[in-house]
């Protein structure tokens, strides 16, 4: 393409970082004979999907993205610089001003009460407030990005632990009601050992699938009624079947972007049982005939990412990924792609765009991912937990088992497994009960709904009220100022809106403003209801569609504002 390149040259470190990441991903420039032949046009622009890894390489290497660095990345990948800039500025993790390091401090609904104090203790260091970092059980949480490829998660964070840069603790407390299906190996097998995983029953599901054939796996998953655990509750078997029936190249994507406030279940699975995630993807690949897999992990999950990359390498070395997987006569491999701080990229079509090196804005549906997904190919996209569930089901385990991250004013915050149909009260009980009197419980994260203490006997399942969402449960005690919580949720949607559609781009900011006026005694219910209506009815994607859920439920339950109508 006749692109106009940025004229500022990259620094040596930037150049090396990009050359290395591109080489690591097998990108070789198809140069012709200088002055005589050249490969150009579309044939030169085939690896736009390496734009995001290249941006990370710059940011990781030198701490920010300079004109020269971005220009060099764009030139190598034949990406227009304006588009490269449009993509880079989409993500929170990238800086366009020179900086040494940044400490991201979570100030979301669980960590919020601690944030000010923590930040006050970090005087002289560049701090950015961020939405939920996915370690709510160990609030407060911080994430440090330093040049030289250093990324550190810290939980619980104190000024001292942040300054030392040492992760204080990584193990998440777990608990189980009934049989441990999804958490069976968590905490008991070494996540860095493939042998341990196999010793604990790992890869038996794949063997069984190879013995019995794809149809048998599909039938079993369908019979177990496994439904998506990423929030949309879509039947997994239906997706797999649709892609299995499609012709040509296909793709399996594991959605590990987990960014719903209060949610940390996928992180625990990846950190503690990474091979199970790979086995789940491999199973999906075997059933659907996909040869390429992508795992898209959120940019703040440094440890989970490391564990997944190591596990993939170990699986590949053992012949469990590659040209002939487990001698089963099919090819499949997995690439890890890292998000860069954008909740919207968990939405499946945004995720595809993000991997493809475009802005992480959602696409129209239809066409659905099973028809035209990643790179326009039929794609199975599943949540981490869904895939691990598929592995368990293949071994005749209960398909009804579900993970519930529980945090907030609770005695034993952590990750809990229980059969669907469990009541909120039972889960709170399993987590040691509330630390003090409960004012409200938020189910399903920021896109979820509040419950009052009297309503906690309600049970959680796909398709019932309150919506299951990610399964996250956050408990607020009577000392909590719910206006602050609801305001934080509203700001979350404002900040995370991709900005593509009018209802969400402007509606979420108007919602924040209306809540503020409401707090000052204004009569805003009608405005808020109208905003909720247009957000729900006319937004492109689930972010906008659910951006007023929690606010509306807080209003309905009179947790804020009182009844102004």
């Amino acid at each position: 393409m006749d692109l106009r390149n940025v004229t500022t040259p990259p620094s040596d470190r930037e150049r090396v970082a990009i050359d290395r990441v591109l080489a690591d991903h097998g990108f070789a420039e198809t140069d012709g004979t200088p002055g005589r032949t050249a490969i150009g046009g579309r044939s030169a622009a085939t690896r736009r999907d390496l734009l995001l890894p290249a941006l990370h390489a710059l940011n990781d290497a030198v701490g920010w993205i300079s004109e020269g660095g971005l220009g060099y990345a764009c030139e190598r990948l034949t990406v227009p610089p304006a588009e490269g800039y449009g993509v880079a500025t989409f993500y929170d993790q990238f800086s366009f001003e020179e900086r040494v390091e940044v400490v991201r401090v979570c100030d979301d609904i669980v960590c919020g009460p601690y944030a000010d104090q923590l930040i006050a203790g970090l005087d002289g260091i560049e701090v950015e407030r961020t939405p939920c970092l996915g370690r709510c059980e160990k609030a407060p949480v911080a994430f440090i990005q330093q040049p030289g490829f250093r990324r550190t998660e810290i939980a619980p964070a104190s000024p001292q632990s942040v300054l030392e840069g040492e992760p204080t603790s990584v193990d998440t407390h777990i608990g189980v009601i009934g049989e441990a299906v999804l958490l069976a190996r968590v905490g008991s097998v070494d996540p860095e050992s493939l042998d341990d995983y196999r010793g604990a029953g790992g890869y038996q599901a794949l063997s069984r699938a190879l013995d019995e054939g794809a149809d048998a796996v599909l039938d079993r998953i369908e019979a177990a009624r496994l439904r998506g655990r990423g929030g949309a509750s879509f039947p997994a078997a239906a997706k797999w079947r649709a892609v299995a029936q499609a012709q040509g190249d296909k793709i399996v994507v594991c959605n590990a972007d987990e960014s719903e406030p209060g949610t940390f279940k996928d992180r625990v699975l990846m950190e503690a049982d990474p091979f199970a995630v790979i086995e789940g993807m491999t199973l999906a690949a075997y059933v659907t005939g996909a040869e390429r897999g992508f795992l898209y992990v959120r940019g703040e999950y440094a440890l989970a990412e490391r564990r997944m990359i190591d596990a993939i390498e170990a699986a590949r070395a053992a012949g469990l990924l590659g040209e002939d997987v487990a001698d089963g006569g099919f090819a499949f491999d997995v690439e890890v792609r890292r998000g860069a701080g954008a909740y919207i990229c968990g939405e499946e079509t945004s995720l595809f765009n993000s991997i493809e090196g475009l802005r992480g804005e959602p696409r129209d549906k239809p066409p659905f991912p099973t028809q035209e997904g990643l790179f326009g190919l039929p794609t199975v996209v599943n949540n981490v937990e869904t895939l691990v569930g598929a592995v368990a089901i293949t071994m005749d385990k209960d398909g009804n088992s579900k993970l519930f991250p529980i945090s907030g004013a609770i005695n034993n915050p952590g990750l809990y497994e229980a059969p669907l149909g469990v009541s909120v009260a039972a889960l709170i009980e399993a987590a040691g009960g509330p630390t003090s009197d409960v004012q409200a419980v938020l189910v399903g994260g920021a896109a979820g709904k509040f419950l009052l203490p009297d309503d906690l006997e309600v049970t959680l399942d796909h398709g019932t009220e309150p919506p299951l969402g990610s399964g996250a449960i956050v408990v607020f005690d009577t000392a909590t100022d719910m206006e602050v919580i609801v305001d934080r949720i509203a700001r979350f949607f404002r900040d995370e809106s991709c900005g593509k559609c009018v209802p969400c781009r402007v509606g979420t900011i108007r919602q924040v403003e209306a809540l503020e006026r409401l707090g000052n005694g204004g009569a805003e219910r009608e405005t808020l209801d109208d905003l909720a209506a247009v957000l729900r009815d006319a937004s492109i994607c689930g972010l906008g569609q659910l951006a007023a859920e929690a606010v509306q439920s807080a209003l309905d339950l009179q947790l804020i504002g009182g009844r102004s109508d």
């Binding site: 393409m1 006749d2 692109l3 012709g32 004979t33 200088p34 002055g35 005589r36 032949t37 050249a38 490969i39 150009g40 046009g41 579309r42 044939s43």
Partner: protein, 537 residues
């Protein structure tokens, strides 16, 4: 092309074709909106090859660029042909059905092995082979060219060499496959179609054709010569030889646009009488004895123009001409009357209707239809005809309708202006996106990125010659020399330099070029000058 001087295809065809071969054309800059259609073709999955000495913004869009030596186009075409024939990829059925002269053609290209092609063109043999196979195997293919093919003293042969390739593979006469010369000016096509060629009457009719000529004689009430007139280069020779003493120029700026500009200006100055009709004062009007201020064709008068896809469209008066400027037709009628004729005031539509009565290409194109349909593509023989998207369908008809299409044996001849130690660099010329020809029209409008006159050289030459961006360099050819600021361009290779013709008032590039012209078409060797470049002062 086999009896019709126009591109065979429509723009829309390139949007769905399988293969695009862009040869000697920087259409991205010189024909930007045509390039939009080409880009649609690429978006729809077409593969593109581009042949150009320079790595231009057009070639950047090609999947494969072939950086040919200036003036070796015939060598490349013949090599492609030989490879296609050698591999048995030629379309034997089509050749037998619709063409003549294949055996002589085959014999003539036989020496052009891939190795020989590489030696003469500089393009690696594998790349030539690749293009040959792709062109021969494509279901549909569009072959397009511009001045890179025609601004040579071998212009006509260059074009024949390309036509041969289409005949060889059957890439002509079908929807999606064709040959398209992109026209440099808004009515080059129309001017030729209207008979502004030395050997043609309107509608592509040959002056030597007695029957056709008789119809014009009857309508016009005058006797017409059966011999072709002079083309531009012959006129200049005639001025020099004293045979042409009076010149009436309408809307041209030869004082700046002709090769070997010093010689051209000298010729114009030597005339007994020079009349120039133009919309603004130019270097040529400066030399004139009489200047007729004319209305701007596209905005101050009525009429038609014809585009590169043979589409005839209406131009209309949007503003009234300033001062004493008058419509071209008015001026011509007034001239005729002053010369003793009795021509009535005539509208553009009346002139057009007369043309329609004489040209079957245009017969069906009433003003009313042109307006209603957004233009029509010739041939359009009657008022119920929808116009023709592509030409020469007859070549595929059973039995073949009309005369067969002949292969033309063409020999490669190297550029006349030889490279020597004294003049070691090949200077070629071309256009920039935001300027047009000698800048008479475009130069008056803003263009934030207009580069101005520069001598563009490769990074390698910049190093040898110890020149860098912005240095003033003297460029000397066997005919003259100019001074221009240096621009180092990565799209150029060692030994290849580039200038545009847009800024004759700053740097008169045609002082350097050679006025050796093609005897068949009258175009001069603008594209291949041997020069020496050195730091000025």
């Amino acid at each position: 092309m086999f009896g019709a001087g126009g591109g065979t295809s429509s723009y829309e065809e390139i949007e769905t074709t399988d293969l695009i071969v862009l040869w000697g054309s920087n259409a991205r800059e010189a024909h930007p909106i045509f390039f939009h259609h080409l880009l649609k073709g690429i978006d729809n999955g077409a593969t593109m090859y581009a042949i150009d000495p320079r790595r231009t913004s057009s070639t950047a869009w090609a999947d494969h660029w072939l950086g040919i030596d200036v003036g070796s186009d015939i060598a490349l075409a013949n090599t492609i042909a030989r490879e296609i024939i050698a591999q048995g990829l030629h379309n034997e059925a089509f050749i037998a059905h619709a063409t003549t002269g294949f055996d002589e053609y085959r014999a003539s290209v036989e020496p052009w092995t891939l190795q020989e092609g590489e030696r003469v063109t500089g393009v690696p043999a594998s790349a030539i082979q690749d293009l040959a196979h792709a062109y021969a195997k494509a279901e549909t293919a569009q072959l397009l060219w511009t001045l890179g093919i025609t601004e040579h003293y071998t212009a006509a042969d260059n074009v024949f060499a390309l036509i041969n390739l289409a005949l060889l593979t059957g890439h002509v006469g079908r929807y999606g496959s064709g040959l398209v010369p992109l026209r440099g000016q808004n009515n080059v096509q129309g001017g030729g179609d209207m008979g502004a060629l030395p050997n043609k009457l309107p509608g592509g009719q040959d002056v030597a054709d007695d029957v056709g000529r008789a119809r014009f004689e009857a309508t016009w009430g005058v006797e017409l010569r059966a011999e072709p007139g002079w083309h531009l280069a012959q006129m200049f020779d005639a001025i020099e030889g004293g045979d042409l003493r009076t010149l009436y120029i309408i809307g041209e700026n030869p004082a700046q646009s002709e090769a070997d500009g010093a010689k051209a200006r000298h010729a114009l100055e030597s005339l007994d009488c020079l009349v120039v009709q133009d919309i603004v004062m130019t270097a040529t009007t400066e030399l004139a004895d009489v200047v007729f201020p004319a209305a701007v064709g596209w905005a101050e008068s009525e009429g038609t123009v014809t585009s590169s896809e043979r589409r005839v469209q209406r131009v209309r008066m949007a503003v009234a001409p300033p001062g004493e400027a008058r419509d071209d037709i008015d001026i011509l009628v007034a001239m005729a009357n002053r010369l003793g004729h009795d021509w009535p005031a005539t509208t553009a539509e009346e002139v057009w209707d007369e043309l329609r009565s004489l040209s079957s290409w245009h017969a069906g194109m009433s003003y009313e239809r042109l307006e209603a349909l957004g233009g029509l593509q010739w041939p359009c023989p009657d008022e119920s005809h929808p116009g023709s998207k592509f030409l020469h369908a007859r070549l595929w008809e059973e039995p073949s309708g009309g005369p067969a299409a002949p292969f033309t044996v063409v020999e490669w001849r190297p550029p006349i202006d030889e490279l020597t130690d004294e003049y070691p660099i090949r200077l070629t010329t071309g256009r920039h996106l935001d300027s047009f020809n000698t800048g008479v029209q475009s130069g008056r409008s803003r263009a934030p990125r207009r580069k101005g006159a520069t001598i563009d050289i490769s990074p390698e030459d910049a190093e040898h010659l110890d020149l860098s961006d912005g240095d003033l360099a003297r460029v000397t050819s066997r005919r003259g020399s100019v001074v221009a600021p240096v621009a180092v361009e990565t799209g150029l290779r060692d030994g290849l330099a580039f200038m545009t013709l847009h800024y004759p008032d700053e740097v008169d590039v045609n002082v350097l070029t050679l006025d050796k012209w093609d005897p068949k078409s009258g175009t001069a060797e603008f594209k291949a000058t041997a020069v020496r470049i050195e730091l000025e002062g």
